[in-house]
Amino acid sequence: MIRHLLKLVWHRKRANALVMIEIFFSFLVVFAVVTMAVSMIRRWNAPLGYEWRNVWVVKVENSMAKNVSGSHTTPDSPTAIDPKLLHDAQLIDRLTRELRGIPQIAAVGSNSMPAYGNAEWTSVLGEKNRSTEVTADFASDDFARVMNLKVLQGRWFRPEDEAADYLALVVDSDAAKGLFGSIDKAVGQKLPGEGFRADPNSPKEVRVVGVIAPYRKSGELSGPETRMVFFRSSLNKPQTPEAKTIVLRVQPGTPASFEAELSNRLHAMAPDVTFRVQRMEQMRRLNLRVRFTPLAAMAVVALFLISMVTLGLTGVLWQTVTRRMREIGLRRALGASGAGVRHQVMGEVALLATLAVIVGAVIVLQLPLLGFMRLVTPGEFSAGFASALAVIYGITLLCGAYPSWLASRIEPAEALRYE
């Protein structure tokens, strides 16, 4: 049966080649869309690693200039701490302490690059032979309490770390696996302090003090790998990027009007500094919108492409059936049943789809080799692959349904006379 179908398909190879290429491209489109959708749904449901509700973010800008790297402003001696950094660190420390006294505020901490924000710092950590790219941030001792971070192993930063001769580091479980192979081995590990940045203030050594649950800094739609690490922001030995963003957790039910009050109080505390108060909820909404809009546009375009292919394929198959009237009529005249003819037409369509999908599958299966797995997990990949197969077969068989029904109703006597 299949050999017979192959022969029929081969006989009309040119027209079929085009249809096959079309199915092949549709397979790629469907695969991309379905994988993306599955991946987004899974990402949306995965835990964030922090709690954004009731968190407010205060950006502190001591001057208009963004952090210009140390080299322009550092005085001659390379080991001296930049007085500007020291000044900023003391300012943040003073503000944090004053804010703690306000009854509506449950906890106050600081970091450099808040979640849902655009700023991101990636760095390469670890020994030369086992270095891993991580997303990094500086955070204060109270940051974990503000963000409700979940400590899995060891501990978060403590004020006692200030006196230590190493720089304390907390990694999330994802980064722990990447750097040390497992979560259990991470606490107590040492990493070379120099080399991860060319900053003269870097201490000689970095030591892991704790492991937290994966911290998805870019929010609900961020990728499967987080690899987040936090360095402890120091009051006496501050480094860039400075922990210049105050994050605070307000008591549940705090009215919106408190935002204006907070803003006023901050300006009163430091009149020559610019403050920008934002609720993390707002930053989240903006972040989701920016990430979601292009996805939605792509999905609409893909949907259109698929519906166009569906219609086009139906038309082409229909046409084919009309053109093969005489051939089909002959089969009917020689005793083939209506169902037999229908099966033949459907079989040809299914064969075409199978050939196209095989080529598509060969190409899609190369993707994991090209580092595609950084974007989706193997589970999402297989789910996308399986659904794409199902959708493509569904569409092609649907396209074949009407033409094959037409074919099965051909009257032999009429067909044989057809010109």
């Binding site: 001057s63 963004k66 403050f275 492409l305 086009g312 084919t320």
Partner: protein, 410 residues
């Protein structure tokens, strides 16, 4: 020629289902491409208040590169003041800060506000239409006056319907007096967009004056766009005197860019040139990739339609029609079809953009289809039609007349 058109219309009317499928594919493809064109047009074509931007070059992203480190951010005031302002023989130069998002509090409510700091000449390069009042001058900027220009939208939120001129509001702890009101600007216009404009001189700290990098954008208004190559070369030559930190960096990459080049520089970071060609290439590749499936679809449809008409073609061939004539006939038929699709697509595009504007997908942006977008759309349609018509026409012209007459050619 006329008979070809008539014939084309006849043929299209004969198989309505096929014509519908083809038209659906063509028009939807064109909708996607025209919407994309309209969005790009909204970003880059000169339009008020950036209507002089066919003569404007900008300096935005600056990259310092070394063997181990590289740093990439907006230009700093010191760089623009020292290396852009002294350019020879230009009409004007201006400096403004990148937009920062903040809030103004009115009673219990929060008004999200974007703020931009500019110098006085900014208002001479951009041609804002002032609903009320006036811009602030270079003198006011130098004196650090606490004055502001605001949008009509913000004016309504702050002062309801009353005229805001002379009234003041508090922003980040400082009080500013409104001197002018302009219409709301689209977020897609990088240089123009903001809600509040304030003189650079009103900044709380003057640290910015010493920073080579961070926070500012420069504008150069040339006498004409033919001056661009000269200005670009002059700026590049001047940069040799830039005090690069030789310990860390070996190179500074920045340039006077058109708005499109500026975006390309942003997207293709870490290059010496702006990378505009890369961006154009990528856009063209995306468009072609997107068109692959619709073209394939149209080609298969056309092919099966032609085969249906094999007897007709056989007759024409038997009576001596040449191959070019047959190919020409079919390509024209296809172009007529795509033009119909183009018109339908154009109407659908207008509808789609109206819906997008209704939901204000991009704040303040009003996407519209103008003559330029329409022309591009029709160009794409004709290209599309010719492209998808040639292969089937070629196949048709090769039909053996004897077989074709019998209607049995495969």
């Amino acid at each position: 020629m006329r008979s070809y058109f008539k014939l084309a219309l006849k043929v299209l009317g004969r198989r309505k289902f096929f014509t519908f499928i083809s038209l659906f594919g063509i028009s939807m493809t064109l909708v996607v491409l025209m919407v994309a064109t309209a969005v790009l047009d909204n970003f880059f074509a000169p339009r008020a208040p950036e209507s002089r931007f066919d003569r404007v070059l900008t300096i935005s992203r600056v990259t310092q590169r070394g063997p181990h480190d590289s740093e990439s951010m907006e230009a700093g005031y010191a760089l623009l003041d020292g290396w852009m302002r002294p350019l020879h023989d230009v009409e004007r130069t201006a400096i403004f800060s990148t937009v920062s998002s903040t809030a103004i509090y009115r009673g219990d409510s929060r008004i999200d506000t974007d703020v931009k700091h500019t110098d006085g000449d900014y208002w001479n390069i951009l041609d804002f239409h002032f609903i009320e009042g006036r811009p602030y001058s270079s003198k006011e900027d130098a004196a650090g006056a606490h004055v502001a220009v605001i949008t009509d939208d913000l004016s309504r939120k702050l002062f309801d319907t009353a005229s805001p001129l002379g009234k003041s509001f508090t922003l980040e702890g400082d009080s500013y007096t409104v001197v002018g009101v302009v219409p709301r600007v689209s977020l897609t216009r990088m240089a123009a967009y903001s809600d509040v404009w304030i003189p650079i001189g009103a900044l709380k700290s003057s640290d910015y004056r010493h920073n080579y990098l961070g926070g500012f954008v420069g504008l150069v208004l040339a006498h004409s766009s033919s001056d661009f190559p000269r200005l670009k070369a002059e700026y590049k030559a001047r940069l040799r005197t830039f005090p690069l930190d030789r310990k860390t960096y070996t190179e500074i990459a920045t340039g006077l860019d058109t708005p499109f080049e500026a975006l390309a520089r942003d997207l293709t970071q870490n290059r010496t040139d702006s990378g505009a060609w890369i961006l154009i290439g990528v856009l063209a590749a995306v468009a072609l990739l997107f068109m692959t499936l619709p073209v394939l679809n149209l080609v298969t449809l056309n092919l099966s339609r032609i085969m249906e008409r094999a007897p007709e073609i056989g007759v024409r061939k038997a009576f001596g029609a040449s191959r070019p004539a047959l190919i020409g006939q079919f390509v024209i038929e296809n172009i007529v079809l795509t033009l119909f699709g183009g018109v339908a697509g154009f109407i659908l595009t207008v509808v789609a953009l109206r819906i997008a504007n209704q939901f204000s997908v991009v704040p303040g942006a009003v996407f519209e289809v103008n003559a330029r977008v329409f022309a591009y759309g029709m160009l794409i349609a004709v290209f599309f039609g010719a492209f998808s018509g040639v292969y089937p026409a070629w196949r048709m012209s090769r039909l053996d007349p004897v077989l074709a007459l019998r209607g049995g050619a495969a």
